[in-house]
Symmetry: C2
Subunit: 471 residues, 2 copies
Amino acid sequence: MDAHDDNLATGTLLEEQREARLDEDDRLRPQFVEAVRDALEAGDDTLAHDLVEPLHPADIADLFELFGRDERPALGLAIAELMSGEVIAELNEHVRDELLEDLSPDAVAQIAGQLETDDAVALIEDLDNADRDAVLAGMAAGDRAAIENALSFPEESAGRLMQRDFVAVPEHITVGDLIDFLRENTGLATDFWEVFVVDPAMRPIGTCQLSWILRTPRNIAIADVMKRDQTLIPAEMDQEEVGLRFQKYALISAAVVDRSGRLIGQITADDVVHIMSEEAGEDALLMSGAGEGDINQPIRQSYHERVRWLIANLGTALLASFIIAMFEDAIKTLVALAVLMPIVASIGGNAGTQTMAVTVRALATNQITKSNTRRVLWREMRVALLNGVTVAILVGIGTALVFTPLLGLVIAIAVVVNIITAGIIGMVVPVIFDRLDQDPAVASSVFVTMMTDSMGFFAFLGLAVASGITG
Amino acid sequence: MDAHDDNLATGTLLEEQREARLDEDDRLRPQFVEAVRDALEAGDDTLAHDLVEPLHPADIADLFELFGRDERPALGLAIAELMSGEVIAELNEHVRDELLEDLSPDAVAQIAGQLETDDAVALIEDLDNADRDAVLAGMAAGDRAAIENALSFPEESAGRLMQRDFVAVPEHITVGDLIDFLRENTGLATDFWEVFVVDPAMRPIGTCQLSWILRTPRNIAIADVMKRDQTLIPAEMDQEEVGLRFQKYALISAAVVDRSGRLIGQITADDVVHIMSEEAGEDALLMSGAGEGDINQPIRQSYHERVRWLIANLGTALLASFIIAMFEDAIKTLVALAVLMPIVASIGGNAGTQTMAVTVRALATNQITKSNTRRVLWREMRVALLNGVTVAILVGIGTALVFTPLLGLVIAIAVVVNIITAGIIGMVVPVIFDRLDQDPAVASSVFVTMMTDSMGFFAFLGLAVASGITG
């Protein structure tokens, strides 16, 4: 067996062991989680530790989250030595906050000191002021200064996200100079993907992918290798926009600049992947009124976030009730109206939610601008008309057969009216929110449902009365 | 003015020109779009071309999308020379398909030949078989083979996404050997971020960031610089899982392997950012029944995607109507029941949607596994109980004041019952879909609304009758 076979054998073994712990989607297998739980319950901390040790920090963080709140302290004790800063940084923020609550400021300071600035900031930014100051006081001066600087930028901005370690060089040096510089200076960043070329005032004038440097002879000037046309990120830019900019221009890393245009940090695509995944589900959660919608949130917080929207929904439902109350006599005369009216409201609500989801998405990806709003609205209205007529024919025929042809006609017209209303409202409400610089996902749902419910009942009951069907 | 000031002036000028075209969120300004439109309408193609020329390919693609369908051919003609493969690759797929329809297979083949394999595949994969074969026949043999190989993997898999250009080296070479190899072989990939170290059978045994290579003396062996513990991507892996894996392990690039473990390509974080952004809005759109929900879709396709769910919704609304019909006599006696019943259904629907959005999100990020399903369900039920009691008190008191205390009690109990039902259904339905390997976002909404509507009407009307309030 030569060295190569050895390697191969090790590789396969590692892979097999990994598969015993993780399924094909990188989720910890229930059997593995049970094994750790059993070890802890049997008081065998050594076994628990040995089981957990081979895991990647991100998987150790997952294990913590899969355990119940009451089980986590025991796990933490058993694997204390494995609870590196990296594991802490990977933890869901609610689970992490709960864990940090039990630690002294000095212990938190020690963990924060192990982390890159952006992770340390994430750890510290949610603490209250007194705790934050105590933790910062326990840190080394350099780390503290970096974190305080990061905290001076708005939440979720590029300034909080960026790494302060990067490689910047003047444009007059050669590829050879650069390589020598990198080899000789051990204090430099170890993980970087591009070198930034700056003027004497630290303003970026170009970017150089490491692969271009590696492929270029030593005597060529950096200025001849670098790309001058570069995408800079202002430190105040919101992280969602940072994500869109990375996506649009297919970036791997980008220089972050302050207001005077000086290079102060870099953002890399792995951080952007993290942000995108955070922002990914946000719109669906916001539209449903589920707030942050994290299953690790304290129950009290989930309750507060959600009950607000249920109460708002109660308000809109009341409006619908008032409208129905206006037609009490008609319903008493023809109780079929009460039987059929939820159909009109429900279909309208569904159609409105569809249009709203499409609009919110298009706004989030910068696909709707003032240049095409009217065209997109016209498009949505045509889709609504097609949908409305299709559903109206089905409902109308069904109602005509079960009740009377006139009632069939009434409900058919009401459905068309309500689906077209839904199409307009579902597009216009999020666009108005966006123009007012509000998040279009947040309150759109309440407004859209309010309009489709009210319009549904009003159109159906009003047309019924107007048709003379109620006598 | 020395060279440095020159540079600075150029930089500032470029930035100012950029700002005249794009707003702070990288959206093309309406004034700019109007200027291009005016030039085209005035027949001044040269002006239109000159306006568009400085734009990044991604922005040219945006411009196309902002123009109406009928205006696009004129724009395409005026800026034909700027319509590089990169612009075509950046176009929304529907806009691109519409554009390609007018081109000959040879022209499409020529565009595809300019692109990286993954972009060329995206261009070709939606064509029907005859068109696809005609385009492939027009391509160079090497490009054709790469695309045919990519097409042999499932849609949205790593095999379709990966780039076939990468740098792989044997482990016995030194850093100096590697740098010389990269400098001498001009045919290699130009954009890469990591070098893969492979055994003689092309199986990856380690990964080496370019920054590590640049920081290491020439005489050190690659084997001593590389990281052995690496994250490999099977070519069959779904792109959504690829995204989660990149996110979990903070990757910049990763080796893609075939079933026998041989290195066949690489995926880089910029592609993953693209996928994440595609998948980002998907759940919100699917849950609302808006299908793909792209504003550039042909209207007929949007109609087909959405009307299905409206018809499904009609089915569930019918069930609710049947339940109401069972209580016709009660409603006739006490028409207040018809006035109040939509409140119970509406609040339940909202609560169900909240829980469903939270569950779908947690499933999508692998946060719910068999290890914690029961705990999360219990958590959701407690949140539902808190929400239910709060809303029930408000509704109950209001109803008691406007109508009768007994009716207030009836509606309060119905609200609690329906919100708890919503909490259970909103969690259980997506989890069951997930266990059955179905996308939990797709049909959950219809089931959840069906249950909350039916349960809302049944609980309220049934309790009203049982209470004797209807005489």
